[in-house]
Amino acid sequence: MALRIQQPGLMTTVQDEGRSDGYRVGMPPAGAMDKFAYRIANGLVGNPDGLAVLEATYLGPQVEFTEDTVFAVTGADMPATLNGEPLDAWASHTARAGDVLAFGFLKSGARAYVAVAGGIDVKPVLGSRSTYTLCGMGGFEGRPLVAGDLLSVGSGVDGTPGRRMDRDLVPAVSGAVELRVVVGLASYRVEPDSLAAFFETDWSVTPDANRVGYRYRGGSVEWVPRTQPRGAGSDPANVVDIGYPVGSIQIPGGSEPIALLNDAVTGGGYATIGTIISADLSVVGQSKTGDVTRFVPVSLEGALAARRDAAVRLERARASFSS
């Protein structure tokens, strides 16, 4: 069983949960940008957790199934069709050998996920099948898919066609995004009034927004005057090198904040003024160029509570599967 890529879409990669062990030595996790949609896609087709899927950004691929199988589409509202017939998202379906999955124009969100019973069977690298394009590793030949690629699908999962998630549990996606942020570690570098203003600004997602990071435009920050420390760069946004959590926000030059995401560098010399909480990273993954974003400060306790809520939401979504 395999998937034949007839058209790759704009940026379609193989992704899974990501590689979790390498962060401390500088290896970014990669992995699905919207973990909720990714996990539900696997669950709908009857895959065990952690198998690899396709992640398609902005423009869906056209994919031929070489054998009968079961698949599901979740994530962004990018109307899917099988042989031209409309197909429900957030549900699993049977495909026959030769059937072609295609997508219409994006209506909302940014990334669609395609899971196939058995998962995309590429060789795991450092414990993950996720593609990390900047280093050309993992996934399918370490790169986004191109027309003509033939992706092997794993065996051993029969698949569960006709399974659907409760529609009421599909995450609401709009062009107005709120992202909760734990302030710090280097927020002391920003003038307090300016830091407050940062959280009152409507930031818009620039075209510079991908798996590495999202760049925003809409305001600027004032830095606290200081003497350049030994080991830090000359930009007032520079500090002596620190680790960058996934979701951390830095503002090189003082304008255009950048949120670092799954494929980003793991440390460096820019002040991180806050970190988007893990529970909201899926929301970032479904935000797109032109969307308006507000950053909302939250306590660490609030972030942990949100993480528990997200786990409950995932379990409730899985429990809602019906056929």
Binding site: Y58, L106, P207, A209, T289
Partner: protein
């Protein structure tokens, strides 16, 4: 008017009518285009993607200016 066909942006980004700042526009109002004629570029995720007309006809109007921000599905130009 019913013969008008719109060419839409397949994804969000910045629309460019020229291959680079020094070159002329890919196409002008009044030009005849085929389905595979490149009518512009959209830049997103640090990539430039060629946009083809997708339909054949004569360009009636551009609905987005050069370097204008576009959303997915937005009408870029009209062909008749």
């Amino acid at each position: 008017m019913s013969d008008d066909l719109s060419v839409q942006a397949p994804f969000p980004g910045v629309f460019y009518r020229k291959p680079d700042p020094e070159s002329p526009e890919f196409v002008q109002v009044g030009d005849d285009v085929q389905a595979d004629t490149v009518v512009g570029l959209i830049e997103v995720m640090k990539m430039f993607q060629e946009i083809t007309a997708g339909v054949a006809g004569k360009i009636v109007s551009f609905e987005v200016e050069n370097e204008g921000a576009v959303s997915a599905g937005q009408v870029l130009l009209v062909v008749r």
